[in-house]
């Protein structure tokens, strides 16, 4: 992306942050007013119950003194951007990566499950797609199910898969990876089938005039032609895999990982922990997609398809 394309995106991001920063005041006004009163400031109205009748915004206007204080609460309803940034900085850079308080440690737990699941799901997905393209029975029987399965909320299966595997004695990384694999599997199947079928009749005929056999047709035409489709589905698949790993951590009381951090922050009233885990997960997803886009660009350019990518 060139410089001209970045500026509008930055402006939009800036607007989002500005809205967030402005929203901190009304969201936290009541909590701040209670806290300020305990610290000896005079609030209007004085009784906390009367304050409940006002919206956060009116309360802040009536008591301008609390406005700066809304940004520094220890347990805010909505933390301000700088509070989240500080929390993230502290848990990423000032803690040893092996410590249980480090976000890097929890991120790695989730990331390793995501990557393992992604590799399993993608491999199986590509294999099934090849089977579907070359076997008419498989195409007719399995393909409708692969498409239908994208319309059902597979993620609802997550708690059960964990318990099922736990009952047979499989714990730790693998159950989460299986959920990730399952979620990244179907996008890859659908995209890859489309890709392997993308060569048109003219191209297939050309190979036939070269008297190429089926094997050569696969390696020299169908597989290269499917690459743009494969990368498009890989990018969908990896973010689905990450969501799967996070949700897989929720119902089992996992002690490590982004999902566990969100749950811990929620249950022990530490909003910063939840927000830091949320942004950690977002940044991880962004990095994964960015890495895949980079590989995509490199690959397609080397294959001579760079202009279309």
């Amino acid at each position: 992306m060139n410089i001209r394309g970045i500026i509008p995106a930055l402006v939009v991001v800036g607007v989002i942050f500005a809205i967030w920063t402005a929203a901190v005041i009304p969201m936290n006004a009541h909590l701040t007013a209670d806290q300020a009163q305990r610290d000896g400031l005079v609030m209007t109205p004085e009784a906390p119950r009367d304050r409940q009748d006002f919206t956060g915004l009116t309360l802040a206007i009536k008591n301008p003194a609390i406005i700066p204080l809304t940004y520094t609460l220890t347990r805010p309803r909505l933390p301000s951007p700088h509070q989240v940034a500080i929390e993230m900085y502290e848990t990423i850079f000032t803690k040893a990566p092996t410590s249980r308080r480090s976000l890097v440690y929890h991120g790695w737990v989730t990331l390793s499950a995501t990557l393992l699941g992604f590799v399993i799901g993608t491999t199986l997905g590509v294999l099934l797609a090849v089977g579907i393209v070359y076997n008419r029975t498989m195409d007719k029987s399995v393909m409708p199910w692969a498409i239908t399965s994208q319309t059902i909320p597979i993620l609802a299966l997550a708690p059960m898969i964990i318990v099922m595997l736990g009952a047979i004695g499989i714990q730790g990384l693998l159950p989460k990876s299986i959920i990730s694999a399952y979620l990244s599997f179907f996008p890859v199947v659908v995209g890859m089938v489309k890709g392997l079928r993308s060569p048109d009749g003219m191209q297939l005929d050309l190979l036939r005039t070269y008297s190429a056999n089926a094997n050569q047709g696969f390696w020299k035409l169908r597989l290269p032609a499917s690459m743009p489709y494969l990368f498009a589905s890989l990018k969908i698949g990896i973010s689905a895999a990450l969501v799967g790993a996070i949700v897989g951590e929720l119902p089992t009381g996992a002690r490590a990982g982004f999902g566990a951090r969100m749950l811990v922050g929620d249950q022990y009233g530490q909003p910063m922990v939840t927000w830091a885990a949320l942004f950690g997960a977002a940044i991880t997803a962004a990095l994964l997609v960015a890495i895949l886009s980079w590989i995509e660009r490199r690959t397609l350019t080397r294959m001579g398809m760079g202009a279309t990518a």
């Binding site: 995106a9 930055l10 939009v12 199910w145 982004f258 749950l263 997960a281 977002a282």
Partner: protein, 280 residues
């Protein structure tokens, strides 16, 4: 013995499908509907035979028959959960998110600059694990369906927004010039040319959003809910090892998801009958 029976079922199912798929009328509508159904029935029959004959514990994998019995026996509870999660949580959020996305898209469309900024940022946000905001919304809006609707609204917002903004850009200079020669201003051009041209894109976003809406509503209930709802039922039934109930809820979720998607696809077919992808 169990494996032999299961293999026989598989072989018979596969043989029938092979005959149908490679037969002369394999592209007819009835046959292409019949083949996946036979495949599904084969899988369910194998599952039933293997689970019952090998004596697999029902806390690992219940047989389909007991899931069906449970489903039939618990219809009032399943309906209450469906109402709470799908009708109240997912649908409200979906409609609110959709209206918000359309509004923002129309506003952004007035400015070239905003359009350029919203497309990459929106596409980026759509790839984020937004479902992680669920605990925050549950804290803000309480554990009833309002917080679920909020999660769903945010989740469906970005895919619909990105697709609508992209769709509104999808008219050629020639078409817009034609409208200008007719003396059409912004609004007539919008309603007669650009919105219809954007419809295929908008429906694409709306169809992606159907699955997201159900996922958001169900997963958000894992973070706190009243004692009704599909996510609540799934997590408590898993805790009680009542896996047949979990499977019954999953059947409901699958039916609801397919119906929701199917309804959107049907509306799309009606609304964009003129588009090449709908004419075959």
């Amino acid at each position: 013995m169990a494996f032999i029976i299961a293999l026989t079922i598989w072989a018979v199912g596969w043989w029938i499908n092979g005959r149908l798929a490679n037969g002369p009328r394999s592209d007819s509508r009835a046959i292409s509907l019949l083949i996946p159904i036979i495949f599904g029935v084969t899988i369910i029959a194998m599952w039933e035979v293997l689970v019952t004959m090998l004596g697999v514990s029902p806390i690992i994998l219940p047989p389909p028959s007991s899931i069906a019995v449970r489903f039939a026996g618990e219809i009032p509870i399943l309906w209450a959960d469906f109402e709470q999660t799908i009708l109240k949580g997912a649908m409200t959020g979906y409609v609110v998110g959709m209206i918000a996305a359309f509004t923002v898209a129309l506003l952004a469309d007035r400015s070239e600059f905003l359009t350029k900024g919203i497309l990459p940022v929106g596409a980026f946000m759509a790839a984020l694990p937004i479902v992680g905001t669920a605990p925050i919304f549950v804290k803000w809006l309480g554990s009833d369906w309002h917080s679920k609707a909020a999660v769903v609204g945010v989740m469906v917002f970005f895919p619909i927004l990105v697709n609508t903004v992209a769709g509104l850009k999808d008219t050629s200079v020639m078409q817009r010039d034609l409208m200008r020669t007719y003396g059409a201003g912004y609004w007539p051009t919008l309603f007669k040319l650009r919105l219809p041209a954007a419809l295929p894109f908008m429906f694409n976003g709306l169809k992606i959003a159907t699955t997201l809406a159900l996922i958001g509503a169900i997963v958000a209930e894992f973070f706190g809910s009243p004692t009704v709802g599909m996510g609540f039922r799934i997590s408590t039934s898993v805790g009680q090892l009542a896996l047949d109930m979990v499977w019954a809820e999953i059947v409901v979720a699958a039916l609801a998801g397919s119906a929701f998607y199917g309804a959107m696809a049907l509306i799309e077919k009606r609304a964009t009958f003129w588009h090449p992808s709908q004419r075959s």
